[in-house]
Amino acid sequence: MTERENAKSIKLILDSNLEDVFLVGLAIRGICSYAPLGEVVAYQVEVCIVEAVNNAIKHAYGGEAGHEVEIGIAIQMDRIVFEVCDTGAGAIPLEARKMPFDPEDLESIPEGGMGLQIIHDVMDEVSYVKTDLGNALRMSKHFDSGRYARPGKPS
């Protein structure tokens, strides 16, 4: 069986409403519990997907509800892959901004712009595609394949 055939995948479609994004977070949390990521890393992965969806809503759709954000999730033998897609005209931020700041200098501490940096720090691979249809942000997190027991299969 090839790795692709072995992958388990699901797609979620969310309305572009910030108040509904927690539903994606809860779904990601549940799905990540099947991958051997550990509680803290699974939580950080959840944050990354929430950040990506928030970016799509805020930047691609200008914060307007009534549009679709699609989240594709695939668990492979050694990684979990996410793709957050929108059909908005606006471009989502691409470059993770390194934000050096002095903890003693109150004004230098950032209040925003940390989302993409978190994604780059947590995920093992991050890539972005801008198409005529919109934006697609692909992220993957690797894990030890020896510790992955497929749900429903005897280990």
Binding site: Y43, V47, L106, I109, P110, M114
Partner: protein, 112 residues
């Protein structure tokens, strides 16, 4: 976002009711905190014991509250769950805020 607040001596303890501090509540949190601070509360403990999720918007809202207090007081944090603490570390916010195990330790530190 609902906030529960309690005055202990000169310290105001603020506890969010919501389990998630994310982009959907960040602006509301920021405004409610600014309102409390502008009432004259400049020693604040943010008790995060019940919060099990924070994203960059939630972190930004807490930074905003710290900036509202400015140098005239302090905002410290207590009760962080391990997962939420990891986000403070990842963004280096653990170097910005004094973080305490529980509310009582935080209140004692600000009362001293």
């Amino acid at each position: 976002m609902q906030l529960q607040s309690e005055k202990i001596g000169s310290v105001l303890v603020v506890k969010p009711f919501d389990r998630r501090m994310d982009a959907s509540v960040a602006v509301d949190f920021k405004e409610k905190m600014a309102s409390l601070i502008n009432e004259g509360h400049d020693l604040v403990v943010l008790d995060m014991e019940g919060v099990d999720f924070i994203d960059s918007s939630g972190l930004g809202a807490i930074v905003s509250s710290l900036k509202t207090i400015g140098r005239k007081g302090d905002l410290v944090i207590s009760g962080l769950q391990q997962t939420v603490m990891s986000m403070f570390k990842l963004t280096r916010m653990d170097r910005v805020f004094r973080i305490f195990q529980n509310r009582d330790e935080a209140v004692a530190a600000l009362s001293g």
